[in-house]
């Protein structure tokens, strides 16, 4: 069953299964029922840490170094058990800042430094190439070994074949395609890949089961249990030394310690680990489960490493079989084809999982932190003007994936044979460990600056390259071996493997020591000597104090933009439809009905920036947002402008307050006017009603007597005469009333005709007195005049006569016949003339004094008859006096009599002189 086609078909079937799982997980995620939102899935996805290196290489390392393979797993275990809070802090920050990759994270911490993001990307890509080559090597080697079944023959060394005939090349090609298919089907602002995580979790399970299957087979079926294997191994001196932890082949304490620290750092800073542990996590509480579940996984996958290694060494004592292949070759040697195929699938699974996650993480970094910042800055591409570049982003990522995998392949060609699997992996570990000072320092030390991080990273990377990469190339004959043996230009102190004379350490420990000294030293020193920019300081505080913060981090935005500009911008990267969706959701959140009602404020800018950050990285997002929302640094002039604007605003608000007060008073006036109008309306209705009543009363008498006279022809003459007299009297009353009503109406409407002449009021008063003297005599009321010579007034003689007659007839009406007395006085001062008519009649109570000048308000002695008159007289008088520029009033006391008076202004001096001169 182990023909080539069958192995390939099985491989593709397995990959197909992974796709199916990914597809299902994506669909569940779309439906809102994520299957990866589960602490077990999270723990399993972390096991992407165990690659083909673990699967094949651990046994290989154990076969040469004994328990020396263990530190690589002790590191992550320790980190999860003891240092989980560091991860938790990173998860929290990544959530807040929408970090999409490690490069993004570092760039974000140091003030969105694009340069730093680019550097991290370069280090990560270069550093990971050996690791990817390791996977290619493992898959192609295992495939070739399996292909030779039933013989057990090691494959030819890397680079010895034409590329087109090289299995590793095709492995690389397919891996790249898988990664593209898994990771770049769509562009997601959150840069999360639920399907990928689900597939990785499944893959972790498969490789674990496959490895344990081999372990159980070797331990219990080939041999009689672990005791049997170790007893046999102890019997051979060359194998016995492998069992000693810190002595001999396993390396010293320093080596153990360094490897533990190294793998601890790698567990966090390998791009794929950062991806699954920090970016893809659905809930930071899952970390708690992973803290013990992942160590358990590590224990399970390592428990059979030594038995398999010893089993292999015992089974192939000649040394013709590479220990890295024991996992596969032992079942093959026992002709267990099914298990061999399962092991191959397990190894393929481990390698595929690693390559997919790693290349997706790296391609995101390369796209967001390397390619986009450059494309966006280079004007020729005019990216800032294109409407939708989301497909371009995907293409960049696809290209990046292919480039990275092919880079791994070329590293495999160049240096693949120089080291065993484990050593290749350690080179990558050492590379990503360079991120530790900048990241961990950035998490706990606010003083770390972008310049410090840049210098530290560069220094560490250079030392790493010099001490680990150069020797690898040299060993592969791509560089002169002299470099290693004598140092460059023969300077012994600069020997890459014994830098500054440091000897006696293995290559990795040596490289780690120097690179870390340079890295940390440069980071701390440069940070302390320099200072942070403002934006950098804000980010530093955000990162270090992330658990003290509430809500979204916010920078004070001092720019201005519109929601449509931001939406168009986001649309260019995520596609217009998706952008519209996002903005609509945001608007809904804000309680705003339509998107265009959104204000282009700080929050919206922040929102747009976050959406973009998911796609093109924080630094590029900041740059892009700045193209539509220009944020200006605060200059002193601007501060002055702001203060000035504030004071203008203050003045404006004062004016507004005044306006409001004016409005309120106008409103009050209007309300008053309205009330007055209503009152007038009511008064008019009352007037009409009263007039009607007053007209009907005399009409009633007239009609009644007329009918009596008509119906009673035999009425005696005296009675007839009396009734006719009443008819005449009531008719006169009716006429008078009608005249007065019309008169009043004329006065009120302003249609009355007025004559204006200079008058000596003494003459007018005298005329009025003589006109009423007969009435006074008839009533037995005394009439007296006291007229002082006074200035002339302007007025209408007839109207003033009307007033005086009215006052005189009123006075006589209310006087007691016989004892009644009326005095008319006239006096003037420089500017006015006053006329008063005083009687000693019944008087008017104070409350009535106010109303007698109103229409139809008569005051009579309640005990006697109704007062004669229409009730319009005084109302008309007051109107007349008012029209002439004077005023009219009354002073009275009940029982003592009343004084009615009016005051008129004197005529202009010139006119008066003319009359007298």
């Amino acid at each position: 069953m182990l023909e080539g086609w069958f192995i390939v078909a099985s491989s593709f079937a397995y990959i197909g299964l992974l796709f199916a799982i990914a597809w299902y997980a994506d669909r569940r995620a779309l439906a809102g029922r994520s299957i990866i939102a589960n602490p077990w899935v999270y723990s399993l996805s972390l096991a992407v840490y165990a690659t083909a290196w673990t699967f094949y290489g651990s046994v290989g390392r154990a076969a040469t170094d004994g328990v020396g393979f263990l530190p690589i797993y002790i590191g992550p275990t320790l980190l999860l058990l003891v240092g989980w809070f560091v991860l938790r802090k990173m998860i929290r920050i990544a959530r807040l800042t929408r970090t999409t990759s490690l490069a993004d994270f570092v760039s974000s911490r140091y003030g969105n430094s694009a340069l730093l993001g680019g550097l991290v990307t370069v280090i990560a890509v270069v550093g990971i190439l050996p690791y990817i080559s390791l996977q290619l090597k493992a898959v192609s080697t295992s495939f070739q070994v399996l292909l030779q079944y039933p013989q057990i023959v090691m494959p030819p060394p890397a680079g010895s074949l034409q590329v087109m005939q090289d299995t590793a090349f095709y492995v690389a090609l397919f891996m790249a395609l898988f990664a593209i298919a898994f990771g770049t089907r769509q562009l997601d602002a959150a840069e999360r890949h639920e399907g990928m995580v689900a597939a990785v979790a499944f893959e972790s399970l498969v490789k674990l089961v496959a490895f344990i299957a081999v372990g159980v087979y070797v331990t219990f079926f080939m041999y009689a249990g672990p005791g049997d294997i170790f007893t046999r191994a102890a019997g051979r001196p060359d194998l016995d030394v492998l069992l000693a932890p810190f002595g001999g082949a396993a390396g010293g304490y320093a080596s153990w310690a360094w490897l533990t620290v190294l793998s601890m750092l790698a567990f966090v800073f390998l791009p794929r680990q950062f991806q699954v542990a920090v970016i893809e996590v659905t809930d930071e509480r899952h970390l708690k489960r992973a803290a013990w579940a992942f160590p358990l996984y590590v224990l399970a996958i390592n428990v059979f490493v030594l038995p398999i290694a010893f089993g292999g060494l015992l089974r192939f004592p000649e040394g013709g079989v590479d220990a890295d292949t024991f996992v596969l070759t032992l079942p093959m040697a026992m002709h267990n084809e099914g298990l061999a195929l399962f092991v191959f699938i397990g190894g393929l699974s481990a390698a595929t999982g690693m390559v997919i996650v790693e290349t997706i993480a790296l391609s995101t970094m390369a796209c967001n932190n390397l390619v986009m910042p450059i494309l966006l800055r280079v004007r020729i591409f005019r990216l800032t003007e294109q409407r939708d570049i989301s497909s371009l982003l995907l293409d960049i990522r696809r290209a990046a994936i292919v480039a990275i995998v092919m880079g791994g392949y070329f590293y495999y060609l160049l240096a693949g044979e120089a080291y065993a699997l484990v050593s290749i992996g350690l080179i990558s570990f050492a590379a990503v460990a360079q991120f530790a000072p900048a990241v961990i320092g950035g998490l706990y030390w606010k003083g770390g600056t972008a310049r410090g991080a840049l210098t530290g990273l560069t220094a560490g990377f250079v030392v790493w390259f010099y001490t680990l990469m150069l020797p690898a190339f040299a060993k592969s004959d791509w560089l002169a071996v002299e470099l290693l043996e004598r140092g460059p230009w023969g300077i012994e102190l600069l020997k890459p493997t014994q830098l500054f004379g440091l000897a006696g350490l293995d290559a990795t420990t040596h490289a780690m020591l120097w690179s870390m000294i340079f890295n940390v030293g440069a980071y701390v020193l440069v940070s302390m000597l320099g200072s942070q920019r403002a934006g950098e300081h804000a980010q530093a505080t955000l990162f270090v104090d992330v658990f003290r913060q509430t809500g979204e981090p916010g920078s004070r935005w001092r720019g201005a933009t519109s929601s449509s500009a931001l939406q168009a911008l986001v649309g260019r990267f995520l596609g217009p439809a998706r952008a519209a969706e996002l903005f609509a959701a945001y608007a809904k959140n804000r309680g705003v009905e339509r998107i265009d009602e959104l204000e282009g404020d700080r929050d919206l800018v922040r929102f747009a920036e976050l959406q973009l950050a998911g796609t093109i990285g924080a630094a590029s997002a900041r740059t892009m947002v700045a193209t539509v929302a220009q944020e200006e640094p605060l200059e002193i002039e601007q501060v002055m402008t702001i203060i000035d604007e504030a004071s203008q605003l203050l003045a404006y608000s004062h004016r507004l307050e005044e306006k409001q007060a004016e409005l309120e008073s106008a409103t009050r006036d209007l309300q008053g006017a309205n009330e007055r109008l209503k009152e007038l309306d009511r008064l008019k209705d009352d007037f009409i009603s009263t007039v009607t009543h007053e007209l009907r009363t005399p009409l009633t008498s007239i009609r009644a007597f007329s009918e009596i006279l008509h119906d009673t022809p035999d009425l005696d003459a005296a009675e007839r005469q009396r009734f006719l007299g009443l008819v005449i009297k009531e008719s006169e009353r009716l006429t008078r009333l009608i005249n007065q009503v019309l008169d009043l109406a004329k006065l009120e409407s302003g249609l009355a005709e007025w004559r204006s002449e200079e008058l000596d009021l003494r003459e007018v008063v005298a005329d009025a007195v003589s006109a009423t003297s007969a009435l006074f005599k008839a009533k037995g009321v005394a009439l007296e005049t006291r007229l002082v010579p006074s200035p002339l007034v302007l007025g209408d003689r007839d109207r003033l006569m009307q007033v005086l007659l009215n006052l005189l007839s009123n006075a006589v009406k209310f006087c007691t016949p016989g004892s009644g007395k009326v005095i008319v006085r006239l006096a003037g001062d420089g500017s006015t003339v006053r006329v008063e008519v005083a009687d000693n009649g019944v008087g008017i109570s104070p409350e009535h004094q106010n109303v007698i000048f109103e229409k139809f308000r008569q005051v009579g002695d309640p005990m006697t008859e109704k007062p004669a008159g229409t009730g319009l007289g005084l109302a008309i008088c007051r109107r007349i006096v008012g029209h002439l520029g004077g005023r009219m009033g009354v002073q009275s006391e009940v029982g003592r009599g009343s004084v009615f008076y009016f005051i008129l202004p004197v005529a202009a001096p010139g006119e008066r002189l003319a009359v007298h001169g």
């Binding site: 007053e694 009443l726 008859e865």
Partner: protein, 121 residues
């Protein structure tokens, strides 16, 4: 009884009713009317609505509230002719309502009809 403050109207009403054979008493305001009503206990009361001191409506209500005056017929006279005035009058307990100026014939017919229907109705 005739209660009316306008002397000429009062005179005409008194003349008309006496000529028609009624025994009449007059009052010139509401207070006086109450006195006349209790003393004279007429079959029919003619009340001007706009009486001084006590309005015709008050007098009307007094009559209806006084058991001793039960069955008395009331004719209200008013110079106000609105629908609301009519309702106020009827609500106060009046039997008939005449608006000034009225026809003397109609007045006599009404008074005669009221006098004929006197008693517990």
């Amino acid at each position: 009884m005739i209660a009316e403050d306008e002397s000429s109207i009062l005179l005409s009403l008194e003349f008309l009713l006496r000529k028609a054979g009624f025994d009449t008493r007059v009052a010139r305001d509401g207070e006086e009317a109450l006195g006349v009503l209790t003393a004279f206990r007429p079959d029919v009361a003619l009340l001007d609505v706009m009486l001084p001191r006590r309005s015709g409506l008050e007098v009307c209500r007094f009559i209806r509230a006084e058991p001793a005056l039960a069955g008395m017929r009331i004719l209200l006279l008013t110079a106000k002719g609105g629908r609301q005035d009519l309702q106020n009058g009827l609500a106060a307990g009046a039997d008939e309502y005449l608006t000034k100026p009225f026809s003397t014939h109609e007045l006599l017919e009404r008074v005669k009809a009221l006098a004929a229907g006197k008693g517990p109705a």
